[in-house]
Symmetry: C2
Subunit: 321 residues, 2 copies
Amino acid sequence: MKDASADDVIATIRRFNRFYTGLVGALDDQFLGCDVTLPDARLLFEIATHDPAEAPLTASTVQATLGMDAGYVSRILARFEQRGWITRARGADARARPIQLTEAGRRAFEEVDGRQRAAVSDLVGGLDSVQRADLAEAMARVRLLLRPESVPGFAIRPFRTGDMGVIAARQSMLYAQSHGWGRGLEIIEGETTTNFLRNFKPGHEQCWIAEIDDVLAGSVFLTDEGDGTARLRLLYVEPFARRRGIGDRLVETCIGFARETGYGRLTLWTHTVLESARRLYARHGFASIETATHTSFGMPVQGETWMLPLGETGAAPGQVA
Amino acid sequence: MKDASADDVIATIRRFNRFYTGLVGALDDQFLGCDVTLPDARLLFEIATHDPAEAPLTASTVQATLGMDAGYVSRILARFEQRGWITRARGADARARPIQLTEAGRRAFEEVDGRQRAAVSDLVGGLDSVQRADLAEAMARVRLLLRPESVPGFAIRPFRTGDMGVIAARQSMLYAQSHGWGRGLEIIEGETTTNFLRNFKPGHEQCWIAEIDDVLAGSVFLTDEGDGTARLRLLYVEPFARRRGIGDRLVETCIGFARETGYGRLTLWTHTVLESARRLYARHGFASIETATHTSFGMPVQGETWMLPLGETGAAPGQVA
DNA sequence: CGAGAAAGTTGACGGAGTCAACTAAGCGGA
DNA sequence: TCCGCTTAGTTGACTCCGTCAACTTTCTCG
């Protein structure tokens, strides 16, 4: 949460590396005194979880995905074949020998897989459901921050308990860091989210959360302003989640909901400095109708009111973009 | 964030294990083609970071802390000695041979250490300061949830940007899970934290955060009620952080601040079902003065008002316990 | 003093992992 | 069609990681 110096972060990561290496080592000790070694298990896992609908699995693809030595893989596969866990046919390409898991192979995999699951299950045995979810979230977050491409896709869902506070916190922190906006913004965030909860009109209002692997990646609110007007509020996407089209999907979700619900227009308040947000709104048919400078965030900033007419007479999305 | 089923969590952990094993493997590849192997580096790290003020380092302690084989360690140490990185004297116990790092050994360590730091630094090169802090926080959280004892101690600090929302979110989620309290509580949390921010009187009010290794572990608020009365609010400690005395320290901090600031009494509102919190308040001299049932949390619950007189005439803390 | 335990060393061994040489099969152009 | 190049996979040789058990030396405690 704090603005950690680069050295602190490096030390923390290295401490975590030592910790996790030890942990995985302890988890892997279960392979001792068993006829499956750790690389065996990794290979077996790769073979067993391969989607048969895809291209048949060859030694070279396994070798490449696991980053193992070709010769090493060859030897392990020979052993698997000898044990009757796999068969290797000749394919269209007579060099390649597509791997197929036998029934015995599947049983061996399930034995190993069950033991691994049990070991991990022991590890989290003392945790309640919130803590388990926290753990999964923290792990996904580590992956997202270190290798965003290793966690593709995202999901949109309605809000639930705890989302309001987290959204207020994240937006306050992100805007404080990127634009220096201060306590004024944090108060507005708190008020807006709390008021949303207090006045929530199911079916007429909603808050959607974008998630990547259960990590909160962005959000947007739609509230009823009266007179057939809906307001889009607090749109944001986490920095680690950008360039995935999450902002577009959130805005589309809002517009779709407003249209279905029968609102006549959709309005929103944004700021001139938020260039990418403004482009996003323009892309979806919004137009700026008013501009005014305020100092609610501790410094003068230029606010803008945007509008999107809905219904028959309104501009279709994309017309403006 | 969501109430993940046990199987989901196990699958996520195993995915993370695979991910992190690969990542550490990539980080360790830097040792290839260099005269220091990975276990060498671990040992060297252990020797170099050993506090000379403590008992002198012996092979057996290194072996025990790293969980390595005694024979293996012996061989590596022999190699280190041969390279002139360490010297081994005879200690009081003639069986033990205390290890001392030479100047050459320190240079070798710094070379290796610098390379490791550089590798990790590359890894986080693309992250801004908020993301780095998020990463460190997520890693610390994983450690805390899997091996709480591996992260000892805690710290108390005043609040900063983003804390309000996170506190409101965590308390809402935890009480929803443990007692089934619903949206009413979440609204109260949001209002209380936002009002605190809006009306914050520096020097007369404060919010303290307990942290374990930069992970939020609990919090407490003190607000001015007028007429010389201060109110202690929203005390909580994360489940993973319990049994460390964090609750006591937070309450002590509040009482100390209220006393110094010159408040005449400290009041608070709690609930009969929160047994451990009530014991905590009693331990610090608070007494229940009023009880009333309400339904703000979506079900009837019994609220209690507690009071601690401060100043000359007040009961000293501990008197009631 | 003697039994037993602890610190450390050494030999032997098996698994992990790499490297290079090799075979067999496909591919693509003259 | 042939020749050179590439790719899939195999094999032998090797190094390093890590364990086990036997062993020496020294300490501790009754």
